[in-house]
Symmetry: C2
Subunit: 441 residues, 2 copies
């Protein structure tokens, strides 16, 4: 401990503003590198990393001699020096050490290297500290800024935030793949999406959004699915058709990417993310034309298929880039057969719907569309699918008492980050993923 | 439909900016009032209400003659006229009607009166449209602005937003009152709070917050509890003790109330909310002194009790108002016996903790405190409570690999709104409440 005049604790990203001053930094002992007689000590705090240089004998002894292990919580006091060769352009000289919480065991995964060098399973098993690695946490900072920008874009368009229940009475929305809950002896279910509630809330606020967890009991083990994820949902009233929803989605995405660019340059670099440009109008193609296009360009006849395959989506993504110079492509008018019962049909093309998917770099990122809004249409849609009305009673009450034409969309937060960062597995963009075989940490 | 020059659709709150213009308004037929030969038609949109005046024969006929029922979705086109006697000071003259979605059945609950005149059960049964009532939705707009202000206050202090899993492997935090989920044949649980995860994430970002649902399987039926609610959680590292957390809580609350005041004057009035002043420093009293004070002032000896009763809290609230002119009072140092195992003890006063409750108008609003941060302390705390380490393995791993002194707090969103609006039941500040007997709508 020293009697030096110490001004304040600063954060790692504030170093440049304090050149020449003696400051405190607090954080974790991230890495130690030795070069000749010099030891470089990297401290990591909640915002970044700082390099401290121990040149004189005795400086930072417990670190230099290896007694203090990585991830120990420490305070470094030092003088901020401009050092063009240092990461970030500044470093700490004449450092002094205060130990806050020493670590005495070697970590199962080394965090002090540029990349996390461990299998996916090991990384996920030890996520409680592997998420501390700069490249991992960069992804989660991008997630935080994405959520904030999503809300900001919609709030500025008159949308109101809602938080709807996750415990629901019936497994109604898709009828399958829901988790069931023992609710005081009754059976309850975990909501697969806020779909019904966000529509109901259009009756209250006209424009609503929600950011929250959704639960899918899909028994698949793929790189692109988990069983709990964060859904960015919106729903808006008084639309003409799904094109109004698509225009709002474009506004939202443009704001998200502009915000990431403005606020997250270091995190984007660490996470290896390449931001797309959002064109002033995102190109769109009708489902049927998309199938024709695939036949023309690739000689594969997928006409008559009720959905697009991943290969179809990749081909369409390539076409959007080649033809429109766009990372984004709306595919509209998916066949009614593959869309949920509340989907609004295309009044002009029976069998097709007023719905859309947004492809981003050749993969589906967003699903949305116009919903039915007349009570009689809901009754007919349920009857056409041989579904009883009773489990939908409270949902139907909304439409019985006046609803405008409306529609909305949902973006999977982790899916967006996966596509943005090129992560090979959705689990790498999820803080603590839940899948068929994983409920912890 | 008319050939009039129509500029645009405006929202109800934009009327004053369009005096003299002919405009569209779209929304719901909220109420109809007749006075002499004049019919006043109230249209409600997502932001407020507007009065239209039908004076000439034939104007708004389907409404005037009662064919079109309340909650029908309509468009009114009219001329904006300054009318000091009208609610809001402007009204629509020479209105024309377009019917968007007619309602043909009478509502089970009338929404067009100043108050919702129905039993609590009826209101909750029909929440899908009762939430449209101006006094009800005002509460939920306050909720939206509160969440936004909470996030904004913390983001400006360097906090990062997180979304942690709600499906967890073990019922570890309190050991009881958790909902169990059938997770692919395994047993999972619904998180009672993000407590463990927000602490873990202090290791990643140092300062984190989360806004999301929490689930409590408490089999009580009270006016102040529901089984799913929205928790505003934060956690911060590198604190000296719980007083640093209390100071941050004060900053957050001041920002929330200032934002509500600036943005929500109409909603506060409709919801009957009276905003408190947040003193520059919220007064605080130690738990033991609080018990002494109750003995002195009220002659009731509660010394030795491990917790405060609701009556104790009311007395302390009265004292804070009388002595400090404050709606808020921190009670610090609750006995360790009544606090969870991760609570940090008071180093100076064995048996008491570095924790606090914030009383707001004599009722507990926030709970928080400093947590243990050393691995050995966790092992000792679990052993002292005869709890095994195994179910806590991943949580403990965090502390094994370096954690700073830290603490945080949690605010129940609906509880805050209940106390702010003086609502007699927490269910009235919850969009779609879940309780022992209610899972729908």
């Amino acid at each position: 401990m020293s009697a030096t005049l110490v001004v304040q604790r600063i954060r790692s990203h504030e170093l440049p503003a304090h050149a020449g001053e003696r400051v405190h930094l607090r954080g974790w002992l991230h890495a130690v590198r030795r070069l000749g007689g010099i030891t470089f000590v990297i401290l990591r705090d909640g915002w970044g990393t700082v390099q401290a240089v121990a040149e004189a004998p005795g400086q930072l002894d417990p670190i230099v001699n290896g007694e203090l292990l990585p991830e120990s919580v420490i305070q470094l006091t030092g003088t901020v020096v401009v050092a063009p060769q240092a990461p970030g352009g500044h470093e700490l000289h004449n450092p002094e050490l205060d130990i806050i919480t020493p670590v005495t065991e070697t970590l199962p995964v080394i965090l002090g290297k540029k990349e996390v060098n461990a299998s996916l399973t090991t990384q996920l098993d030890h996520a409680v500290f592997v998420n501390r690695h700069p490249t991992r946490r960069a992804v989660f900072r991008l997630a935080a800024v994405t959520m904030a920008a999503f809300r900001e874009a919609l709030a500025s368009q008159g949308f109101t935030e809602i938080q709807t229940p996750k415990l629901v009475a019936s497994a109604t929305e898709s009828g399958a793949n829901v988790f069931s809950v023992d609710y005081f002896g009754q059976r309850a279910y975990l909501a697969q999406s806020p779909q019904f509630y966000k529509q109901i809330m259009v009756g209250v606020f006209e424009r609503v959004f929600e950011v929250g967890p959704v639960f899918r009991a899909e028994p698949h083990d793929t790189t692109r699915h988990t069983n709990e994820y964060v859904s960015l949902d919106m729903e808006m009233g008084f639309i003409n058709d799904h094109f109004d929803v698509m225009a709002m989605l474009r506004t939202v995405l443009a704001h998200i990417f502009a915000t990431l660019q403005a606020q997250c340059a270091p995190e984007l670099a660490l996470a290896g993310a390449v931001l797309p440009e959002v064109p002033p109008t995102i190109p769109h193609i009708h489902f049927a034309e998309a199938q024709d296009l695939i036949l023309q360009r690739h000689g594969v006849d997928v006409r008559g298929e009720p959905d697009l395959s991943p290969q179809d989506e990749r081909w369409l993504g390539e076409w959007a880039r080649a033809e429109h110079g766009s990372d984004f492509l709306f595919v509209t008018g998916y066949p009614m057969a593959k869309r949920p019962f509340y989907t609004h049909p295309d009044p002009e093309r029976p069998g097709y719907s007023n719905s859309f998917d947004l492809l981003f770099r050749g993969t589906e990122l967003v699903t949305g569309g116009q919903r039915l809004h007349r009570y009689g249409d809901y009754q007919a849609a349920l009857a056409a699918r041989d579904l009883p009305e009773a489990p939908f009673a409270t949902y139907l009450e909304t439409f019985r008492y006046g609803m405008p034409p409306h529609g909305g969309f949902a973006v999977g937060l982790e899916r967006l980050l996966m596509q943005l960062t090129g992560a090979p597995n959705l689990r790498l963009t999820t803080l603590f993923p839940r899948d068929l075989n994983r409920l912890a940490p």
